[in-house]
């Protein structure tokens, strides 16, 4: 085995075998899924108070359709809209007002739902579901074909493909813009976190080798540059392992949790979903929030984001890790690292702020330039990716990133070579620059 691969292997195995690594790798996805499930669950808890919805139905066609259930009770009123509106608030008689002005078959936009606060999603889909189903049945009946209803029901399970296609246009697009933002921010924060955590590991590793003087034994066997690169690559692999484990575990836990959540759902909710036409995952009966989330997730190109995430993570990590290694080599103990690590931390902290602002305008000048500058691009580009970045921009940004990390690694190698053998000397920035010329 070549020497650098020996070093990589050591750096990798000692870290991966650590209890803290195993715990963190296993627990984080649980925590992540737990949090999301908690949010979904909290959103899904029904108010025990029955909400009363006023209905002004000018057509008088839908009294039988709008059936009250344990959460919602419909009360048909015959008063002017303005009067009812006044009673529709938190402390008033009604939670919301459904106003139907015309026959919905001829005029599907004739129904509106008024409320003081944002109506919750569940109510909206409940009403829409009831109305949709009724109208659908009416329409089917109007064709006068026997067994048509059964035929349509049957065919519904087979038109998966179509639903996905529809999901990509029109209304669905709006939902996925928010999702794109969430995915972008999550991957940006993850890259930021990985660079900081694993960069710091490189730095601490170098400091430890230097303070316990093992470095002298090792560089009498291998070149300092090999030792540095072995450490950087080994730790990069640790990071990748952790990332992949997180992705896989999160996926597994999500499907398990999804199955459990689905099993707990009442028949009513399942019916609703059928009516709402969100049958993209017909087998998994999930709450509407989860259902719509999954539908929107279908519209995101995860493969591209995953691959570019790994590429940008590696690029950004290599850029910063070599600088962290140089800093580690220049100091005598861990407490001294602060003086030098601050200037390295600044651009990456700036990057995360730039990413947050770029999310609001993913094609703006800040987003563009920060996704080109190598010190910020790994983080900022992550935010922009779900919003479809032109290919040439990704290419250019990656090229700059690669050239930069080759440059910083070369520089860091020179500083490292001198630094690891320097003891008992407070090193200044000027000194570091001098080492570059040795």
């Amino acid at each position: 085995m070549s020497k650098i691969s020996l070093i990589i292997k050591r750096e990798y195995t000692t870290r991966v075998m650590k209890k803290s690594f195993i715990l963190l790798t296993l627990l984080t996805p649980l925590l992540f899924v737990g949090m999301i499930s908690l949010i979904v669950w909290l959103g899904g808890i029904k108010d025990d108070k029955v909400k009363t919805i006023a209905v002004i139905d000018k057509t008088h066609l839908y009294e039988k359709v709008l059936k009250s259930n344990e959460s919602y009770s419909f009360q048909f009123v015959d008063a002017p809209v303005e009067v009812i509106k006044k009673q529709t608030n938190d402390n008033g008689k009604f939670t919301a007002l459904l106003y139907i002005t015309d026959n919905l078959i001829d005029n599907p936009e004739a129904a509106s739902l008024y409320s003081e606060k944002q109506v919750n999603m569940e109510l909206k889909s409940y009403i829409a579901g009831l109305l949709n189903k009724f109208i659908e049945e009416q329409k089917l009946a109007s064709y006068n074909i026997p067994n048509l209803k059964e035929m349509v029901e049957k065919s519904k399970t087979e038109i998966d493909l179509k639903t996905i296609k529809w999901g990509e246009n029109g209304k669905e697009k709006q939902g996925s813009a928010e999702l794109a933002l969430i995915i972008g921010m999550i991957s940006a924060f993850t890259i930021y976190m990985f660079i900081v955590i694993y960069g710091a590991q490189v730095m601490n590793g170098v400091v430890q080798e230097k303070t316990n003087r093992i470095v002298e034994v090792i560089i009498s066997s291998v070149k300092p540059f090999e030792l540095m690169m072995g450490k950087i690559i080994g730790i990069a692999l640790v990071g990748l392992t952790q990332f992949l484990m997180w992705v896989i575990l999160t996926g597994v836990i999500f499907s398990v949790v999804g199955a459990i959540l689905g099993a707990n759902l009442d028949v009513n909710a399942m019916k609703q979903m059928g009516q709402m036409g969100m049958q993209s995952v017909p087998a998994n009966a999930m709450p509407p929030e989860v259902q719509s989330l999954f539908t929107a997730l279908n519209g995101v190109d995860f493969a591209q984001i995953m691959i570019l995430f790994i590429v940008y993570f590696l690029g950004g990590y290599l850029l910063y890790a070599s600088l962290f290694a140089a800093v580690g080599s220049a100091v005598d103990n861990e407490t001294d690292t602060q003086q030098f690590s601050l200037p390295i931390m600044l651009p990456i902290i700036f990057a995360i702020y730039a990413a947050i602002y770029s999310a609001q305008n993913p094609d703006g000048p800040l987003a563009f330039w920060c996704s080109m500058i190598p010190f910020t691009s790994p983080v900022v580009m992550m935010v922009r990716l779900p919003f479809d970045v032109p290919l040439w921009q990704i290419g250019l940004s990656l090229t700059i990133l690669i050239l930069s990390f080759v440059g910083t690694t070369w520089m860091a190698g020179k500083i490292y070579r001198t630094g690891i053998l320097m003891y008992g000397k407070k090193v200044s920035w000027k000194e570091l620059l001098k080492w570059l010329r040795y």
Partner: protein
């Protein structure tokens, strides 16, 4: 046979010249002492031999050929401030270091088994280094240094931290290694060990070599013509020797004298025999310690 030749090596750091025209030759199969006060340049010299740093000028030759980084495979180096990875297990670590020196895992395992048994430390194989005492860790390190059977061994203060029993063990191992054909460079402040083990020395001071040569020759050349004489009755100083001190000890007289008479030791002995019955007669050679201090003191 000369194993290692260092010729006119100069190493300049920013404002400080660490080595200034240092030359020395280490004969094969001997123990060579590299002495000098702290900061004299010993460590820099050792690093140059190990190809860790390059000299600004001058040359290092091994077996007559200019040294290349590949030759470092044949060097075992035990640095003074030694360390191991604290969190790593002893056996794994020893294997790792041996493999870095170019041994295969299999060979390293076999050799380690031999040495761990010899030093009676097999029980430590799965212990973490942080659980070991300083002396224990040093034993492990000593083993990792010699494991790949290097032709040249460089020990920087190998006995610091060892108790007398282990010091003796390591001393015997070092002598055994030499008998098996290894050449050893010792860097130490402990002059007793130098007298015990080293055949030749170089004393580095202020980046230069100030004293070099065979240990017995150096001691003889620094002789102060002082002798210790044990006799039955007191002796008196005369024109042939000066009496420096005289005490009664265990029923006999112990006198320290300085010779004034020129010529061999027998001539002096003859002069003393005339006065009393001599029990013992010994030339007091200066210790390396005295020579060291005398040479280095401004």
């Amino acid at each position: 046979m000369i194993l290692l030749e260092i010729e006119n090596v100069v190493k300049q750091f920013a404002e400080h010249r660490a080595l200034d025209g240092v030359s020395l030759t280490v004969p094969e199969n001997t123990i060579y002492g590299l002495l000098g006060p702290n900061g004299a340049g010993k460590t820099t010299l050792i690093r140059i031999i190990n190809c860790i740093t390059a000299p600004d000028s001058g040359e290092v030759r091994m077996n007559g050929k200019r040294m290349t980084p590949d030759d470092v495979q044949h060097i075992g180096y035990l640095p003074e401030e030694r360390g191991l990875y604290k969190k790593m297990k002893v056996g794994e670590q020893a294997l790792y270091l041996a493999q870095l020196k170019g041994m295969t895992r299999h060979d390293a395992q076999k050799a380690l088994k031999y040495w761990f048994e010899k030093f009676e430390i097999d029980a430590w194989w799965n212990k973490k280094v942080e659980e070991l005492s300083k002396g224990m860790a040093q034993k492990v390190q000593f083993i990792t240094t010699i494991l790949h059977e290097p032709k040249l061994l460089i020990f920087d203060e190998p006995f610091s931290g060892f108790d007398p029993v282990n010091t003796d063990l390591i001393k015997r191992e070092i002598l055994e290694l030499r008998d098996k054909g290894a050449t050893i460079i010792f860097s130490t402040h402990n002059m007793e060990t130098v007298e015990d083990l080293c055949e030749n020395i170089s004393l580095v001071h202020m980046s230069k070599i100030v004293l070099q040569g065979n240990v017995s020759e150096i001691r003889a050349s620094h002789a102060t013509n002082t002798y210790v004489v044990r006799s039955q009755s007191p002796i008196l100083g005369n024109e042939n020797f000066e009496l420096l001190s005289q005490i009664s000890k265990n029923g006999m007289m112990e006198s320290t004298i300085r010779r004034q008479l020129s010529g061999g030791n027998n001539l002096l002995l003859n002069e003393i025999i005339k006065q009393t019955e001599i029990l013992s007669f010994e030339e007091l050679l200066p210790s390396m310690n005295d020579i060291f201090i005398k040479t280095v003191k401004p």
